[in-house]
Amino acid sequence: MSDIIVIVHEHGRADPRAELALAAEFAVGDLHDALAAAGLSVDTETLVFIDEDEAPLPRERHHRVHHLRHGSRVHVGRDREILVGVNFQARTIEKRFGPGTRVAKVKKWAVHELGMTATDATEHVLQVHGATTKPAPDTPIHEIVRHHGHRVVFDLVPEKRVEG
């Protein structure tokens, strides 16, 4: 079986941290060893999430991992979930997401929850509350919380046309 390549993200750190080659079939212990070899500490408090999973991988080293695929993201940290708030006009909505959830999924949830039309949705973007940062859609939300604890608040704002 050929190796798969996965990208490792460390909670609270901007941009991916490392790239790992793993056998197509492996156990949690193999993944933990590979993370440690890449310089990430894995202890009893560490949680490992795959892509946008809501639950972390089990801690048992012998547990086989079946759903990791070529190009998957592995998120390493200590937060089990992140509370996301989205402000739009006079409303604020909240939901808890797994740390590897991407901004695109948060936006999809928010526009549905707020009852936005598809057209309005394409013309709005999530901006970090109190900042000008508009994270790229593929950004995992744990990269945004590094200064905000276990939660992140967005404003859903009109996306500005580039003019001038």
Binding site: R17, T122, E123, T132, A136, D138, K160, R161, V162
Partner: protein, 162 residues
């Protein structure tokens, strides 16, 4: 015959292609470099499916002075090795239409604050669009992310000729 050393901007670009931020997008199918003819490079960037439209568009980058100097990029016909004709450009509404302007500079660049040709003469963009400005520390992914977001989230409607 002694090997000719690569210029520093080429060395920096090659190094960035090996780093996790670029590799994450490449492995996820968001973008891929298909040709380097320094200082030019062609990058395919994925688009959401739209009737009669390609699933990715090619962009020809000029990366002279990378990463200190912002790149400039234009839609490209990778098969013909020529600028993409206007009638085959991607089109859309809102922000998308404001960035993809075939009539701007003869279609030689995108109307983006991170594009060095377009940024020239737009000092107000530093305060109007700070998140879109060229970021040398993030490198090529900063440009690629913006184009990919426009082709997948930002009002993209398909190719003009569709």
């Amino acid at each position: 015959m002694p090997a000719v050393p690569l210029p520093p901007d080429r060395v920096a670009f090659d190094a960035d292609l090996l780093k996790p931020p670029y590799r994450a997008g490449e492995l996820a199918g968001r973008w891929r470099v298909v040709e380097i003819a320094w200082p030019a490079a062609t990058v395919m960037i994925a688009a959401v499916p739209r009737p009669g439209s390609p699933t990715e568009f090619a962009f020809r980058f000029d990366l002279s002075g990378y990463p200190a100097v912002a790149p400039t990029a234009r839609p490209w016909d990778h098969v013909a090795k020529a600028p993409l004709p206007a009638h085959r450009w991607p089109t859309g509404t809102g922000v998308f239409a404001s960035v993809f302007r075939p009539l701007w500079c003869g279609g030689s660049c995108l109307y983006l604050p991170c594009d060095r040709v377009s940024a020239n003469g737009h000092p107000a963009w530093a305060t109007q669009h700070p998140e879109r400005l060229w970021n040398p520390s993030r490198g090529i992914v900063h440009y690629l992310e913006q184009v990919h977001a426009l082709l997948t989230e930002g009002g993209y409607a398909g190719a003009r000729s569709a």
